[in-house]
């Protein structure tokens, strides 16, 4: 069996456990047990839980963006593209909530180096996606924008901030699907107003 294949199997098994039990409640032992491999072999591929977690996040992001890309290719209207982006984003946040929520257990001070790098990388990628949609709208002369980059950042900041404040006001152990749907609706409404403000007459 090739190395890459084994690594992939480990990531798949980890995603399954992380998504259900959360990262904090999953042990390396359990993941090794699921795959009937020795703990030693598991540690050969991933020396600690954080490196496995980083690989899992990367993997989730990869499949998410591949899927989103496929859908976006078929759409020309930048406003609708933004909706597609928001919908896919919500779908994956629901599916992998427990995996992503683990990030909340870190503060800026104790965030491991590899996760910090990954996080910056993923944030960059998400920003790039928003930027490219806005850029498309600019080229089509739908949006009247001078600084695409800055606009994308403003939009992205809203997405981050809104979710945080939503859960601060509606705390819950397991956020329900309905809550995420409610967030998505607000995000879409915001998106429409935001871009309407940027639209040419």
């Amino acid at each position: 069996m090739s190395q890459d294949h084994k690594q992939e199997q480990i990531i798949e098994a980890a995603i399954k456990r992380f998504a259900h039990f959360g990262v904090g409640k999953t042990t390396m032992n359990e993941i090794a047990g699921d795959l009937s491999i020795s703990k030693a072999l598991l540690y050969y591929y991933f020396p600690d839980k954080n490196s496995l977690y980083a690989a899992v996040l990367m993997h989730i992001f990869k499949i998410t963006s591949e899927h989103t890309n496929q859908l976006l290719e078929k759409e020309q209207d930048p406003l609708k593209m933004m909706h597609i982006f928001l919908e896919r984003r919500t779908e994956y946040i629901i599916k992998y909530y427990n995996v992503i929520a683990f990030l909340k257990s870190f503060t800026h001070a104790n965030l491991p180096k590899n996760l910090e790098e990954l996080f910056t990388h993923l944030r960059r990628k998400e920003l790039n996606r928003i930027t490219s949609i806005i850029e498309k709208g600019r080229q089509q002369k739908v949006f009247l924008i001078k600084d695409v980059e800055k606009t994308a950042e403003l939009y992205h900041d809203f997405l981050e901030g809104y979710r945080t404040s939503f859960f601060a006001h509606n705390p819950s152990i397991f956020p329900e699907k309905e809550q995420f749907q409610a967030i998505l609706e607000k995000e879409k409404a915001f998106s429409d107003i935001f871009f309407k403000g940027l639209s040419a007459e």
Binding site: K16, A19, H20, F21, K25, I173
Partner: protein
């Protein structure tokens, strides 16, 4: 009165966590936090995890037997009762997930109190179902034998199919459960064919 309300709240919160995370991965502190209370306050109502789990077991087993008894009130033919029982178990499984698996297998929770509730539930379930089989035997649709033995045999065969799935962790996906339920139903059909009088 207030105590009972609080206890119910704690039980519901505990069930929510236990169903998802299972017995080993749930702490009293987490349950207390869900209810915005301290662990100490929670321990005023339930002295330890074992006591809480015993109450949870009693609550769910009560619900199980009540649901079963409601099913029997419909006075369905014996085979239909067992087919419905499979659906009912599936419903409990999806509602309580890991908790349902862990409460029905002995190796995880060894406390005497919980063991006793589990045995009582099994006895009550078998007793209720034996009545159904007994009636079918009197009517002559099923070959005469010891009703309770027949029920035990059917239940054990259904359960044995579920064992391989039950050990899987995290809980199996819907397709796997569908697959199991279909097998269990096919088995019940087969058994009842074999039990036919004549």
């Amino acid at each position: 009165m207030k105590v009972i309300v609080k206890q119910e709240q704690i039980l519901d919160a505990a069930i929510k966590r236990l169903s998802h995370f299972g017995v080993n991965k749930t702490t009293l502190t987490e349950i207390a936090e869900d209810l915005h209370m301290t662990k100490q306050a929670l321990m005023y109502y339930y002295h330890d995890k074992q006591q809480l789990i015993a109450s949870v077991t009693a609550k769910i087993s009560g619900e199980y037997i009540e649901t079963l008894s409601g099913l029997l009130d419909k006075a369905l033919p014996a085979k239909e009762v067992f087919l419905s029982l499979i659906d009912m178990r599936r419903l409990f499984f999806s509602k309580y997930h890991l908790l349902f698996i862990q409460l029905s297998t002995t190796d995880l929770i060894k406390a005497a109190e919980i063991e006793q509730i589990r045995n009582e539930t099994k006895m009550a379930e078998a007793g209720l179902l034996a009545k159904v089989i007994d009636q079918a035997m009197r009517k002559g649709t099923i070959r005469s034998a010891n009703a309770l033995d027949t029920v035990t045999l059917i239940l054990e065969t259904i359960t044995s199919l579920a064992i391989c799935l039950g050990k899987q962790c995290p809980p199996p996906d819907q397709a796997e459960i569908d697959n199991l339920v279909n097998k269990q139903k096919a088995l019940v059909e087969l058994l009842f064919n074999g039990l036919k009088a004549g």
